[in-house]
């Protein structure tokens, strides 16, 4: 049995906005084992980024608040930590890379300064050693002429280069867990391919675990060992990548898989999930997916399903998980 590095149990993160109370993350559970990559998938607004920010304890309060649940990292509950204790963990043992590399780098400091900030803080190196380490990190992420690049500002770098800098910064303290929130969404495909290959190489070399947040099922299939699918603030399905892609049990997961145009298959017509994602301040009663589900029955409209293990390691939150016959119709 693999050792869990991060365990999130029944996490509830709620935002109190002028328009109402928004339960962005509602009893979400997930775990990431040592050295493993977990893909967290869902459409915009499903709560995947809020889950990640909750793990980092970066939810702005107000308007947001973690209302309940546990976040265990290496056996310690992060929700019980003080802000000072969190600071020794963030950027050190857990670090994060964000979607938009331009907005997450500070435009008025050099790349080198921004990388050395974390190194000096967490590893207590002096300026010269920290800078040497920064150059080494830039070389590791494949930036040409790193000795020169450390003195450059973010605007002098291309999008792909900036994302490499973000990765260098995140990895500079050798974290046990890397949270990557849509790391390649803002990048072009050829640059995305570079960054994904880089992340794979570094994962193998450094042995860290990755919580990979994305809406792109292609990226998940390529990078992740396990996957957790979210919909409207809830987990709907979790399991190893292959069984989930081959035999999805939740109608939403199946709908997502069938609605993407695929390069290696000919599809005359795409399967479309009817309707849109519900407004988070007015989630439907019962199963949150039921208004869009073609298999919905009375029970789905009344009672909320819970995440249950139906096959070893494969969990689903659905009253009527798909059987082979349902899947056949696509």
């Amino acid at each position: 049995m693999a050792e869990p590095l991060l365990q999130v149990r029944n996490l509830e993160t709620t935002f109190f906005t002028p328009d109402g109370v928004v339960p962005a993350v509602d009893h979400v559970s997930l775990s990431v084992n040592k050295g493993e990559t977990l893909g967290l998938v869902g459409e915009s607004g499903c709560g995947k980024s809020v889950t990640a920010l909750s793990v980092m304890r970066l939810i702005a309060d107000p308007p947001g608040k973690i209302m309940g649940g546990d976040i265990l990292f290496e056996g310690q509950n992060l929700l019980a930590k003080t802000e000072a204790e969190m600071r020794t963990i963030r950027g050190n043992r857990i670090s994060m890379i964000f979607q938009e590399p331009m907005t997450s780098l500070n435009p008025v400091f050099t790349v080198g300064f921004q990388i050395t900030e974390a190194i000096r803080l967490h590893q207590k190196l002096d300026r010269r050693d920290a800078l040497a380490k920064a150059v080494e990190m830039l070389r590791l992420v494949g930036i040409p002429l790193p000795e020169k690049r450390v003195y450059e500002y973010p605007h002098e770098l291309s999008g792909g280069m900036r994302q490499r800098v973000m990765i260098a910064m995140a990895l500079s303290c050798n974290p046990k867990l890397l949270i990557a929130d849509e790391p390649t969404t803002a990048l072009d495909v050829t640059i995305q391919a570079q960054v994904l290959e880089l992340m794979k190489r570094l994962r193998n070399e450094l042995g860290m675990a990755i919580l990979l947040i994305t809406h792109d099922l292609g990226v998940v299939a390529e990078m992740a060992d396990r996957v957790s699918v979210m919909y409207a603030g809830k987990n709907v399905e979790e399991g190893l990548v292959e069984p989930i892609f081959e035999r999805p049990l939740h109608p939403y997961t199946r709908g997502l898989l069938d609605s993407i145009p695929q390069l290696h298959r000919d599809q005359v017509r795409l399967h479309a999930i009817d309707g849109g994602v519900p407004n988070p301040s007015q989630f439907p009663k019962g199963c949150r997916f039921h208004p869009r589900c073609q298999f919905a029955q009375d029970r789905c409209r009344a009672e909320q399903p819970v995440l249950t293990e139906v096959e070893p390691g494969h969990k689903v939150s659905c009253w009527y998980p798909l059987v082979a016959a349902d899947r056949g119709v696509a």
């Binding site: 459409e43 915009s44 291309s158 792909g160 280069m161 072009d188 495909v189 050829t190 640059i191 995305q192 391919a193 570079q194 994904l196 290959e197 809406h215 792109d216 099922l217 292609g218 990226v219 998940v220 299939a221 390529e222 990548v241 292959e242 892609f245 709908g255 997502l256 898989l257 609605s259 993407i260 145009p261 695929q262 390069l263 290696h264 599809q267 017509r269 795409l270 399967h271 479309a272 999930i273 009817d274 849109g276 994602v277």
Partner: protein
């Protein structure tokens, strides 16, 4: 389409024929002047679109695909070149003539948030093209707007609402209704689904296909997502730094790409199939600046198989197989 037929695309079946289209944007000069430099957004592209077909135009950001689409409609004035619409060079038309012609050439924009005026009701937005083109009777206009809304999956009561009340997918439907108001012959879809979530994206793609079938529309489908382009198109043109590097029927492009850039682009896409093992070509470096283009072939700086000739001469646009065009010295 049969090969012989495809090879001899007659003028009659070409709805759009673009010849050597060029669009340069002048850059701001520095304090002390200096030589004028240009962003070569579209640097001599030629393609045609047959009646009723979809031509996909694919490429990475900054390759000029949007500019190509806009100059085609004369939303941006091209620097040089010719654009034939039903055999007529539209670049020679006067402003009033062009306005009349625009009824037949419409566009759907990428960002459904930025392309609808927040102060206009949906009825006014969809009805505006009708008003501009002489449908002054309000009752007639309203009736047509309702028809259009229903056509794209919305309802009559949406007419009195405003854009902020709609989701991204619904707004894109409104944009489509507006584009179809004048029964155009060609619609340029500029990244029409890239701002949408996958489950909504598939709804819109299906809608676009249904409408095409229903009205016999011709599409220029511009997108960066190759899987989406493949799904939608009959033929696909791949752009890199202001040039089309390869253009052919989609089956041929995806099964036997000839240009090294197309090959790399195809292998770069993550495929949602965990069992699929494949060799990936990872391109080195970034796209060069469109101001200072490399000599010869503009892809050579990132090309794995570049030869000395690639730096010396710009590759010619050749038909290597029937209906399969490529601009590469090494492609056979």
């Amino acid at each position: 389409m049969a090969t012989e037929e495809a090879a001899a695309a007659t003028t009659a079946e070409k709805l759009i024929d673009v010849v050597n289209l060029v669009k340069y944007f002048p850059r701001k000069q520095g304090l002390f002047g200096g030589p004028r430099t240009y962003v070569k957004a579209v640097d001599g592209v030629s393609f045609f679109i047959r009646r009723g077909e979809t031509l996909g135009l694919v490429g990475e950001s900054g390759c000029g695909k949007t500019t190509a689409g806009r100059t085609l409609l004369r939303l941006a004035e091209p620097t040089s070149g010719q654009v034939f619409f039903e055999g007529r060079d539209i670049l020679t038309l006067s402003e009033p003539e062009m306005r009349k012609l625009r009824a037949e050439m419409q566009i759907i924009f990428q960002d459904p948030y930025a392309s609808l005026s927040p102060r206009m009701s949906i009825g006014d937005i969809v009805g505006e093209p009708l008003l501009v083109h002489g449908v002054t009777d309000r009752v007639v206009r309203e009736k047509r707007v309702i028809e259009l809304l229903e056509l794209v999956g919305l309802s009559a009561y949406h007419m009195h609402r405003y854009p902020h009340e709609f989701s991204g997918g619904q707004r894109q439907r409104i944009g489509i209704a507006r584009a179809l108001a004048l029964q155009p012959k060609i619609v340029v879809c500029d990244e029409a689904v890239s701002a949408l979530d996958v489950s909504i994206q598939s709804q819109i793609l299906n809608l676009l296909k249904d409408l095409q079938q229903h009205f016999g529309l011709t599409y220029l489908f511009i997108a960066h997502n190759l899987s989406v382009v493949k799904h939608m198109s009959d033929r696909v043109a791949v752009m890199y730094l202001g040039k089309i590097v390869e253009m052919t029927r989609k089956q041929d492009l995806y099964s036997s790409p000839k240009h090294p850039y197309t090959q790399a682009l195809l292998s770069a896409i993550p495929v949602p199939d965990p069992k699929l093992e494949r060799e990936r070509i990872v391109l080195e470096g970034d796209v060069p600046s469109p101001v200072h283009l490399p000599s010869g072939c503009r892809f050579r700086t990132r090309c794995g198989s570049a030869q000395p000739i690639c730096a010396e001469a710009e590759p010619a646009w050749r038909e290597v197989e029937p209906d399969h065009f490529v601009a590469c010295h090494l492609a056979r």
